[in-house]
Symmetry: C2
């Protein structure tokens, strides 16, 4: 894309009430726009990043048998009353409103009940299971305060998969597959080495759930980490008993701040029983459907990447989720045109700074936006291209052939 | 996809309160799930159709210079007060709710104000214009009644593009381009021959707006159509004066029911002025930004296609938007496996009915779901494949080579 056609511009200042690094940098560089605390619009560069993260997640969910659907935002009170989660004393984060008919409705704050309600219509036999439907959708939570940018939004973009299995053994098998898929996702998004599987509180049906926690000072969670085994424990369950059970040693554990970028949870029959979601096995006996939930905040993951990958000049995107792969900068008007045409014919991954502003402004903008490869053409570079990686100090003069190999 | 892994099943009956053909057929065939009147979830087959329609629209918007972004659902009262559209006496379709702080917020019912508010931050010079941002998003309207299935939802999926131009001439040029893009979209979605550009009421800044109306008895609108010129007039502006102005003849006009699948609207400064969205021209003079809006209901378009393309046995999807291109049916268990493997290696467009049910049930399901090419393998077909188009009477026995050419 030509930068002259991109309507966003970099800003010197973020809004004064914005405290989080992710929000400050993403607003200044034109990736997001603040609508109100905890609510952001995704501008063209931001949507490209969100789409790339979404595609990584989708590929990994499809690999383990996921089937994508899209449930509604507006939720029926009757459905959520079955599990008692309509009750504000149980769930205090609902946004609720009313139809003109007077009926109460809510905005999706999670998806368990919506899924069980839909699947009740289709599941009756062992032949119908297991199934692994998932959704990408906007989720709404009426947080009392919202100061963490896109790490904790009142509206955020989310993936949730639910597993519906015939028994605990089938559930466990998928649960392990999902954990492996999550590891792939965070690795592909560039934060695998900082993301730890973390034992956290379970529920009525399992002692633990598993969170994926990414180490960063911006994290809202405290975890205790054993570097050698790569296992972590959330503060909420960090007791001597749990440490012993997990065969960890208290002296090895390091306290860290971390962001929960994903979680997997064994739900047992907590959300199937209220919907009478049961099936008949081969012998004709009625059995409970066993559920699991597997969530990732897509926009939170984007914010986490920014918290992890930035320096004093701006964002440093990992290649897999960068809005573009190349930032082509011409220092004299029109000089980059031919190279842009050639690259563009092969790839949609080029942002071309064709604006008539100073070289200094272009370089500062490029550093703030944080695209992995900066390509400069000027009178000095002759027929060659100066390529510099965003996270490297030096640059190199290379030929078009070298660049085209990076496409 | 293997049909045994698709969790949806065809249903004999639609919900009793459902009157619209589109909803009845889409629910029975497992494309959508009714959450409440006017609110539907999109099941795996339905999401595939929605994605295909979305991609057609996206391609056509990008071709005319559109830049995609994604604005929030939650809307700030302060923004909408500027144009006086927060007022329930002006807009009665808002869903409103409150933050825990007590602040009033609304759910997106359209996007003009949100766009002007964002662009105010970026537009100041003639160099910043023209721009054509657009969004795909869920839109919420608190309709008093909702009986038309996905033709008129309380929650629906929508594309809106807004044009921001320097003057009327620049605006008009883009407006014509957008009309041509809309014609392409409806043509590619298979309803071009039934969709008429229709003169409708304008506003303070233009005498007419232009709707794209698709002829079907399910339509909520009445239009008057001149078959020879392919021009239509919405009942709301169908006066002798307008007929004369458009050089039409009253005797040639035929009254038809139609669905408004898209509209383009010249907004002038109606939504730029309240945001003080102005720019400086080459001479340094302050000028108004001229806006236009270009909307398409993606889910409504899907419903319209069903209203137009169905018969007594089910849906008959046009190839461009069908959930899959091929419906492979084996009449004996395992017989289709090898063909599925070969087709699947080349294309993601095969639904493979590997279920162990009767041939009659499989054929009835295939007709209801409405995939364009039905491929049958059985003991009778030998090494060949019986191919039948959904909208054709006869079938043909062909070789794999013939099928693979259709991929």
């Amino acid at each position: 894309m030509k930068q002259s056609e991109l309507f966003t511009k970099t800003l010197r200042e973020a809004p004064k009430d914005e405290e989080a690094i992710n929000a400050k940098l993403l607003i200044r560089s034109g990736f997001i726009f603040k609508e109100m605390a905890g609510v952001y619009s995704f501008l063209p560069l931001g949507l490209r990043v969100l789409n790339k993260i979404e595609n990584i997640i989708r590929e990994e969910m499809n690999k383990i048998g996921g089937t994508e659907m899209r449930t509604s935002v507006l939720q029926n009170k009757n459905v959520w009353e079955k599990s008692n989660r309509w009750n504000d004393a149980v769930v205090d984060a609902w946004f609720k409103t009313k139809l003109k008919t007077g009926a109460d409705i809510g905005l999706s704050f999670t998806n368990e009940e919506a899924y069980s309600n839909i699947l009740k219509q289709y599941v009756s036999s062992y032949k119908d299971l297991p199934i692994y439907p998932y959704d990408f959708k906007n989720i709404f939570r009426n947080e009392a305060r919202s100061k963490s940018g896109i790490l904790r939004g009142r509206e955020f973009y989310w993936k949730a998969l639910y597993s519906f299995s015939r028994d605990e053994a089938e559930h466990e098998k998928f649960y392990e597959k999902a954990k492996a898929a999550y590891r792939n996702i965070f690795k592909r998004a560039g934060i695998g080495h900082l993301t730890y599987m973390t034992f956290a509180s379970g529920g009525s049906f399992s002692k633990f759930s598993h969170e994926f926690q990414t180490i960063t000072p911006a994290g809202e969670d405290t975890i205790y980490l054993d570097e050698s085994s790569k296992i972590a424990v959330n503060k909420e369950v960090y007791t001597d008993e749990v440490i012993a059970e997990l065969k960890l040693k208290k002296n090895d554990m390091i306290e860290k701040r971390a962001i929960e970028v994903g979680n997997v949870f064994s739900l047992g029959t907590k959300f199937s029983a209220p919907f009478d979601l049961r099936y008949r096995n081969e012998k004709g006996e009625e059995k409970d459907v066993i559920m699991g939930s597997y969530g990732i905040g897509v926009s939170r993951l984007m914010g986490t990447i920014v918290e992890v990958y930035h320096d004093e000049r701006g964002i440093v995107w990992p290649e897999s989720v960068a809005p573009y792969r190349f930032h082509l900068i011409e220092l004299k008007s029109g000089m980059g045109k031919d190279l842009y045409r050639r690259l563009r014919a092969k790839s949609n991954e080029v942002l071309y700074d064709d604006r008539e502003i100073s070289a200094g402004e272009k370089f500062a903008d490029a550093d703030l936006i944080g695209i992995p490869y900066r390509l400069v053409v000027s009178e000095k570079t002759g027929g060659k291209i100066e390529v510099k990686k965003r996270n490297a100090k030096g640059s190199k003069l290379v030929s078009y052939a070298t660049i085209s190999k990076l496409l």
